[in-house]
C-alpha cells in the first residue's frame, strides 16, 4: 500500500480520466479523457467555465462520486495508489488524511449545527482514533491559530454562522489541513468571498503550501487566481483538456481560441480602458450531445479555416513546440500566432 514515490515522481497522476453519468436523457460525458499530474509543492490551476468538468474531476480524485451512478475509467494515482476501482473503505481512509478538499461556499460546506472546533476535531479524530477528545480539540485550536484566526480558543467554540466569510474559509482550510494531507484540492475557494479577502486566502494557501509541501489543485474560472498561485495550468472545455502548460506559457502565449476568449474577457488594470472586452459568444455545450469534431467549434470564430476538420475531427493535445505546452486545436501554429496578434493581444488581460 504505502509506496513511497521518489522525489521527482508526481504525487498525483491522472491518466485518461473519463467520468460519465448515465441519466434518463442519455450519457453525460462530464470528463472525457483528461490527463495531468501534480508534484508536491506545486500548484496546478484547472480553469474552465461551469460544466467544463473541473469539479467532477476533483470529486473523482477524492472518490466522492456514487459508484452506482457513475462510470469512471482511466487512472488516478495518489502517492502511487490507484483510486479508480479502489475499495470504498480504502478510499475513505485516504480522504481527509492523504488528500483533502476546500469547497467554494464555506457557509454551506460547514455543518450549521456543530461548533467549528468540533468539526475540525472530528476530521482529526477519524484518522487518529487513538487521539483523545482533548487532544483533538487542542489540535483544532492550533490549526485555527495557524490559519490566522484570532482568539482561536474562543472561536473554536463558535458556530459557522458566527464567523465572517473569510474566517469561515480559513476554518475550512484549517479543517482540510488538520491531518497534514499531501494533496489539497481547492474548488473555487475564493469565489464566494470579497476581493480583499480573496487575496488573503490565496496568500494563506501559498504560505501553507510552503510549510506543508503539499500538492495543490486550484480549480477556478478566475484567471487572476491562476496567475497568482498556480505553477501549471490546465484549461478544460466540455470535459476535455484543450490547453495545458506552465502559467507563463498559457498566460503569455495562449494557443487555444478558448483560452484567448477567457483572457480577452477579463478587464485589465493596465490596459487601454477604451478597448472593449471580447466575450466568448454562446453557451457551453450540452455534455450529452457534444458538438461533433472540436467541441468548441460552434463558439469559435476561426472554425472552418482548415476545411471541415473542426466539424469532423476531435483535435488531440499536441505540443506547441515549447516544452510542456500543449494545445488541442486544428489551427496551424502560424495561424494561431497571426490571429492572436491581430485579434486578441490588445483586449482584456491578454494585453
Amino acid at each position: 500500500m504505502s509506496v513511497t514515490p521518489t522525489a521527482d515522481e508526481p504525487y498525483l497522476r491522472v491518466r485518461d480520466l473519463k467520468v460519465q453519468f448515465p441519466t434518463e436523457d442519455g450519457l453525460v460525458k462530464a470528463v472525457d479523457g483528461v490527463s495531468f499530474s501534480v508534484r508536491r509543492g506545486q500548484t496546478l490551476g484547472i480553469v474552465g467555465e461551469s460544466g467544463s468538468g473541473k469539479s467532477v474531476t476533483s470529486m473523482s480524485i477524492l472518490g466522492l462520486h456514487n459508484p452506482k451512478r457513475t462510470k469512471i475509467s482511466g487512472e488516478i494515482s495518489v502517492g502511487g495508489r490507484n483510486i479508480v476501482g479502489m475499495d470504498d473503505e480504502k478510499i475513505r481512509l485516504l480522504r481527509g488524511q492523504d488528500m483533502a478538499m476546500i469547497f467554494q461556499d464555506p457557509l454551506s460546506a460547514l455543518h450549521p449545527y456543530y461548533k467549528v472546533g468540533v468539526q475540525i476535531a472530528e476530521a482529526y479524530r477519524i484518522h487518529h482514533p487513538s487521539a483523545s477528545k482533548a487532544e483533538a480539540t487542542k489540535r483544532a485550536v492550533d490549526m485555527l491559530d495557524r490559519v490566522g484566526i484570532p482568539q482561536p480558543q474562543r472561536r473554536a467554540k463558535q458556530y459557522p454562522h458566527e464567523f465572517s466569510g473569510g474566517m469561515r474559509q480559513r476554518a475550512m482550510i484549517a479543517m482540510s489541513l488538520v491531518n497534514d494531507p499531501a494533496l489539497l484540492i481547492a474548488d473555487e475557494p475564493t469565489t464566494a468571498l470579497d476581493v480583499t479577502v480573496q487575496a488573503q486566502i490565496l496568500d494563506l494557501l501559498e504560505d501553507l503550501q510552503r510549510e506543508f509541501n503539499s500538492a495543490i489543485i486550484m480549480i477556478t474560472h478566475d484567471l487572476g487566481v491562476v496567475a497568482q498561485i498556480a505553477d501549471d495550468v490546465l484549461v478544460m472545455y466540455a470535459g476535455r483538456a484543450i490547453e495545458t502548460g506552465s502559467v507563463e506559457q498559457v498566460m503569455r502565449s495562449p494557443q487555444h481560441p478558448y483560452t484567448w476568449g477567457l483572457l480577452a474577457s477579463v478587464p485589465s488594470l493596465h490596459g487601454d480602458a477604451e478597448v472593449d472586452l471580447v466575450p466568448i459568444k454562446g453557451n457551453p455545450p450540452s455534455l450529452i450531445n457534444l458538438p461533433s469534431g472540436c467541441s468548441f467549434h460552434p463558439r469559435c470564430r476561426y472554425a472552418g479555416r482548415n476545411g471541415n476538420k473542426s466539424f469532423a475531427e476531435v483535435p488531440e493535445l499536441r505540443s506547441t513546440g515549447q516544452e510542456g505546452h500543449q494545445v488541442a486545436c486544428h489551427l496551424t501554429a502560424a495561424d494561431r500566432l497571426k490571429l492572436y496578434q491581430e485579434d486578441i493581444a490588445h483586449a482584456g488581460v491578454a494585453q
Binding site: R95, A100, F103, S108, P112, Y113, I126
Partner: protein, 329 residues
C-alpha cells in the same frame, strides 16, 4: 429563552380570550335555544323561559361572558332554590345536558383522547420517520419503491375507511382483538393498551405514511447539502455521515411538524373516536354542538386552542435547542 417563553405565554392567554369571545358570540348567533332543545317538543313557553332562567341564558351576553370569566378564575354557583350547583375555580361551566360540571366531563374525555394521540404519535414517529430515512438512504432500490408505494396508498386512505376495515378484519371476523374500549392506564396498563391498539394502528399507519414521505424528502434534500459532502470529504464513515451530519439536520423540520400535528390532534380526533366508539374529547364536542351545550363546546374549543398554542411554544423552544442559528428573542 425565559423571556421568550413568558412573552409567548402572555400571547397565548390573549389568544385564548379572543377565542372564548368569538365562541360565545357564535353560539348566541345560532337561532335555536338550548332550552328548547333540552325541553323537547311539547314544551310550553313558560317552561322554556324557566329553563332558560335556570341555565342563566336569559341574561345579556355580556353579563354571561363576565360570569364565565369570573367562574374560570374564582368559581361560581349555578341555579337557585332546590337546584344549586357549586362550581369551584377553574369553573368552565355547567353542562346543560347531563347535570355535570364541564371539568368533570373533561376529566373523563381528555385522558381518552390523550391516550389515543400519544400512542399513535409514538407509532407514526418511530415507523414513519425510520421508514422515510431508510428509503432515502436506499434511494431507487426495491425497498425504497415498496416503502414509497405503501406510503402513497397510506397517505390517500382515510381514517373512516381503514378503521372500519381493520375493525371488520381484526375484531368482527377473526376476533383477534377485543372491540376497542378505554380503560384508564392507572387501572390496568395491559387492558389500556389492548383496548386502544386499533385506533393506534389506524391513526399511526395513516400518519406514518405522511411522515415517511416527509422524512424521505427531507433526508434526500439534506444528503445533497454541501456539508454532507464535506463530511464525506473528511473521510468520515458512512454511518457517521448519515447519522451525525445528515439525520441531525433532516430531523429538525420533522420535529416542528410533529409538534404541531400532535397539538392539533389532542384537540380531538373526532372521526377516530367515533369509529371505535371511544368517548373522547372530540366526540363529546360534536355531541355538545348538536345539543347546543355551550359550556362543553366552549371548553373544548378553548382546550384545543390551548393544546395548539402550547405545542407551538414547545416547538419553537425545541427548534432553538436543536438549531444553534435560531435565537429566541
Amino acid at each position: 429563552m425565559v423571556r421568550f417563553v413568558i412573552r409567548r405565554l402572555l400571547l397565548a392567554v390573549t389568544t385564548l380570550f379572543a377565542i372564548s369571545i368569538i365562541t360565545f358570540l357564535l353560539f348566541f348567533a345560532v337561532p335555536a335555544s338550548p332550552a328548547e332543545v333540552m325541553c323537547g317538543k311539547n314544551c310550553s313557553p313558560t317552561q322554556v323561559a324557566q329553563t332558560e332562567h335556570r341555565l342563566g341564558i336569559d341574561q345579556p351576553i355580556l353579563k354571561q361572558y363576565g360570569q364565565f370569566v369570573k367562574g374560570v378564575f374564582v368559581g361560581r354557583t349555578y341555579g337557585e332554590g332546590d337546584f344549586v350547583r357549586e362550581c369551584p375555580a377553574p369553573c368552565l361551566g355547567y353542562s346543560y345536558r347531563n347535570d355535570e360540571l364541564v371539568t368533570e366531563t373533561l376529566k373523563r374525555t381528555v385522558p381518552v383522547t390523550v391516550s389515543i394521540v400519544v400512542g399513535a404519535a409514538i407509532m407514526w414517529l418511530v415507523i414513519g420517520v425510520s421508514l422515510g430515512m431508510m428509503s432515502a438512504l436506499r434511494r431507487g432500490t426495491i425497498f425504497d419503491r415498496i416503502a414509497i408505494g405503501v406510503s402513497l396508498v397510506g397517505a390517500s386512505l382515510q381514517v373512516y375507511f381503514l378503521g372500519l376495515v381493520l375493525l371488520l378484519l381484526l375484531v368482527y371476523s377473526t376476533g383477534l382483538l377485543p372491540a376497542p374500549s378505554y380503560t384508564p392506564f392507572t387501572e390496568n396498563p395491559g387492558k389500556w393498551a389492548v383496548g386502544l391498539i386499533l385506533p393506534w394502528i389506524t391513526l399511526g399507519f395513516l400518519n406514518s405514511a405522511l411522515y415517511a414521505r416527509l422524512s424521505r424528502a427531507q433526508m434526500l434534500e439534506t444528503l445533497s447539502e454541501d456539508y454532507v459532502r464535506t463530511a464525506r470529504a473528511k473521510g468520515l464513515t458512512k454511518r457517521k455521515v448519515h447519522t451525525r451530519h445528515a439525520l441531525r439536520a433532516a430531523i429538525t423540520p420533522i420535529i416542528t411538524i410533529a409538534g404541531l400535528d400532535i397539538g392539533a390532534s389532542l384537540g380531538g380526533t373526532v372521526i377516530t373516536e367515533s369509529i371505535f366508539g371511544l368517548q373522547g374529547l372530540g366526540r363529546s364536542a360534536v355531541r355538545a354542538v348538536v345539543e347546543l351545550n355551550l359550556p362543553i363546546v366552549l371548553a373544548t374549543v378553548l382546550l384545543a386552542a390551548l393544546f395548539i398554542v402550547v405545542a407551538n411554544i414547545i416547538v419553537d423552544v425545541l427548534y432553538a435547542v436543536v438549531d444553534p442559528r435560531v435565537r429566541l428573542s
